[in-house]
Symmetry: C2
């Protein structure tokens, strides 16, 4: 364990988050997502499985250290419900709360159709699976931003 | 880069620090230490080279997240000057300042003879070399402590 760090940030997850740079994309998904097969195509080839945790719990750990990207209009993308792309399900609302809670500003969410999400995820840096997230559409793209020389998110 | 973290904590160093548990020992050394050959014998087999940094700089990064061990009387050990084991050289004094600055209490320093240090280091978890530390005897054992359920160092 380490001081001043969310205890869910294990060695593998910290390694992935710190290895990423500006514009790299992290995929955070629920237990039904094809995590392993998609992760195999990513830049790092890594799937970080967080058993026993749901999406808001993993998101809060990640976003305690991970800066979102102010260079794009929507640095968080949610997977759209099939047949109802504008619907916000429970996981989407909860992710919004976590993003707001862990940020110094309000970030806009975008959305992406299910198969387009899979394709985008294959080109991401890595996949993190919240192993105990049983709710549907708990799938997000998180685009990494920049920390300036004073330690602030740009 | 990550929010709320010392920028010198790179992916490999974070991975090592988070992988360690209570009682595991980290070795922090200057540029003359036989880092590579000693690291090959450690538990992880890892040498983390921090080029461009001196011992106090690397120590401050490590100790911003790494808890020292309250279960032992001396959780920091300095390498003794050959022929003058009680002498505190500049690196020793500077390390004391960093340990005090990054802690909620005063930790006691122990000391260890040069060859005993090598032997101890071979049984440690990993070696971190401050590549730009040119001063002598900038060599330390840091014994890892415990974080309680509230996030405090025990």
């Amino acid at each position: 364990m380490l001081k001043n760090l969310n205890p869910y940030l294990n060695a593998e997850l910290l390694h992935v988050l710190r290895s990423m740079g500006h514009g790299d994309e992290l995929i955070l998904v629920d237990c039904n997502f094809p995590s392993d097969s998609v992760a195999a195509h990513t830049v790092s080839g890594k799937l970080i499985r967080m058993e026993g945790l749901n999406v808001p719990e993993v998101a809060e750990a990640i976003l305690s250290v991970y800066p979102l990207d102010s260079f794009v209009p929507e640095p968080v993308l949610r997977m759209e419900v099939v047949g109802n792309p504008d619907e916000w399900v429970e996981c989407h609302h909860e992710m919004k709360k976590v993003v707001d809670k862990t940020s110094d500003r309000e970030w806009k969410f975008g959305s992406i159709e299910r198969h387009a999400f899979y394709e985008r995820a294959r080109n991401a840096y890595a996949v993190v699976c919240a192993g105990s997230e049983r709710r549907g559409y708990g799938c997000f793209v998180l685009i990494k931003g920049v920390i300036d020389e004073k330690g602030n998110v740009v």
